[in-house]
C-alpha cells in the first residue's frame, strides 16, 4: 500500500469508462478496476441503434473500443483485477483485490448488473452445453438448429431476432401473454416468420442424455399444464438462451452501501451513497431506464461529484 489515487472506479462498462473520461480530463489521478471484459454487458450486443450519434453498423465492441481509446488519451489507468472488498471507514478508502490493497480519496461504484438465472433444475449443469446467456457468443453453434429464447423484454426479443440469422427456428418463451419489449422491437419479431411465441410459460426443468441439452419441460402458468420438449433426433441438441433480465452486482459492498428494495444502490440524481466520498453510477443504481446513454450520463456526473468532494475535503 503506497500510492493514493484521487478516484478509483470499480467496473469498466460504459458508466465506469465515462467516469474515467471525465475524471481524467479533470486531471484526477484515476484507476479503473475491471474483473472481466471491458465494456460490460454492451459488448455482447451486436447492434446499437439508440445511442445518440452512433454511426451506422455500430456494435457494442466498437463503441467500447472508442471509449477506451478516449480515456487512454487522458492517462487513466485500467487494470484487470477483481475487487473483493472495500474499507470505507477512514477518509482514505481501501479497495481490495487479490493482487493489491489500493487507496483512494473517492470511489465510484459502477459494477453494473449480471444476467439473471432461471434457477431451475439442470440450468447450471448444462450451462455451455445448450444453456446460454450470450447470443452473440453462442449463436454460431446453432446454425440450422432450434433455439428457445426465455424472456420477453428488450434483450430477449432483440436477441431472438438476431438468432434467426443462424437457427432454423426460434421460439420465444415468455411468462406472460404479452411482451415487455419496446413496440419497435416487438414489431420486428412479429414480422419474422422464423419466430414463434410460447405464452404464459416458464421453464421447469432442463436435461440431456448425451451431455448436451435435448429435453426441457415448460410449465404453463395459466392452464397448469406441463409440456415436454425434445430435441429433433437428427439434431440431438437445442439451445436455451436465458435472457430474463439482470440482477445488480452488489455482493462486495452490500453490507456497506444502502440498497433499495430492488437490490440496487439507493442513489438519486446526485449519485451520492450513504458513504461519504463514495458514488454510484450506471445500472447498479435504482433508476427508470438502464441503457448505455443513462450509464455514460451517470459516469460523467459521478466524476464531477468526486472532483467536487476531493476539492472540499482534501
Amino acid at each position: 500500500m503506497s500510492k493514493i489515487y484521487d478516484v478509483i472506479i470499480v467496473g469498466g462498462g460504459p458508466a465506469g469508462l465515462s467516469a474515467g473520461l471525465y475524471a481524467g480530463r479533470a486531471k484526477l489521478d484515476t484507476l479503473i478496476l475491471e474483473k472481466a471484459k471491458v465494456g460490460g454487458q454492451i459488448v455482447t450486443t451486436d447492434e446499437i441503434e439508440n445511442y445518440p450519434g452512433s454511426i451506422s453498423d455500430e456494435t457494442g465492441p466498437k463503441l467500447i473500443e472508442r471509449m477506451v481509446d478516449q480515456i487512454n488519451n487522458f492517462g487513466v489507468e485500467l487494470r484487470h483485477e477483481e475487487v473483493t472488498g472495500f474499507d470505507f471507514s477512514d477518509k482514505i478508502k481501501v479497495v481490495t483485490t487479490p493482487q493489491e490493497n489500493y487507496q483512494a480519496k473517492s470511489v465510484i461504484l459502477a459494477t453494473g448488473a449480471v444476467p439473471r438465472k432461471l434457477d431451475c433444475p439442470g440450468e447450471k449443469k448444462f450451462t455451455g452445453r445448450g444453456v446460454s446467456y450470450c447470443a452473440t457468443c453462442d449463436a454460431a453453434f446453432y446454425e440450422d438448429l432450434e433455439i428457445y429464447v426465455i424472456g420477453g423484454g428488450d434483450t430477449a426479443v432483440e436477441e431472438a431476432c438476431y438468432l434467426t440469422k443462424f437457427a432454423r427456428k426460434v421460439y420465444v418463451v415468455h411468462r406472460r401473454d404479452e411482451l415487455r419489449a419496446a413496440k419497435s422491437i416487438q414489431d420486428k419479431a412479429f414480422a419474422n416468420d422464423k419466430i414463434e411465441f410460447i405464452w404464459d410459460s416458464v421453464v421447469k426443468e432442463i436435461s440431456g442424455e448425451e451431455g448436451v441439452v435435448d429435453r426441457m419441460v415448460l410449465h404453463n402458468r395459466k392452464t397448469g399444464e406441463d409440456t415436454e420438449i425434445l430435441a429433433d433426433e437428427d439434431d440431438g441438441i437445442f439451445g436455451v438462451f436465458v435472457l430474463v433480465g439482470y440482477i445488480p452486482e452488489t455482493k462486495t459492498f452490500e453490507n456497506l452501501i444502502t440498497l433499495d428494495e430492488g437490490g440496487y444502490i439507493d442513489a438519486k440524481e446526485d449519485l451520492l451513497t450513504n458513504q461519504e466520498g463514495v458514488f454510484a453510477a450506471g445500472d447498479i443504481r435504482g433508476k427508470v431506464l438502464r441503457q448505455v446513454v443513462t450509464a455514460t450520463s451517470d459516469g460523467a456526473i459521478a466524476a464531477i461529484q468526486a472532483e467536487k468532494y476531493i476539492e472540499e475535503n482534501f
Binding site: K35, P98, T127, G128, R129, G130, S132, C134, F141
Partner: protein, 105 residues
Amino acid sequence: MVELDRKNFDAEVLEAEGLVLVDFWGQSCEPCKALMPHIHALEEKYGDKIKFASLDISKGRRVAMAQGVAGLPAIYIYKDGVMIDDLRGDDATAAAIEEMIKKHV
C-alpha cells in the same frame, strides 16, 4: 499455443499424451477475447508442464460440439486424451483457470 481445427484436433488433443488445455473460443465472443491474454500469460507460466491449444469454433464447430461444447468461453483440460476438468461461461475467469491448472500439473 497450438491452433486447432477439425483436421488436427484428434492428433493434438485426443491422441496426445499428457496434459492439454484447450481454449474453445470464437471471433464474436467478447468474453473469450478478454480471456485470451490471460491464457497466454498462463502458457508462459505453465507451458512446460501442460500443452496449450485453442480452437476457434468457426474452424471446427462440430468438433467442439462433439466435446460437449455448445457455449463459450469453455476451457477444458485433457489428460492422455480424456477430458478431466472444465470451466464454462462466467466460471471461466483467469483466476479459476489458474486454480484448475494447479490442480493437475
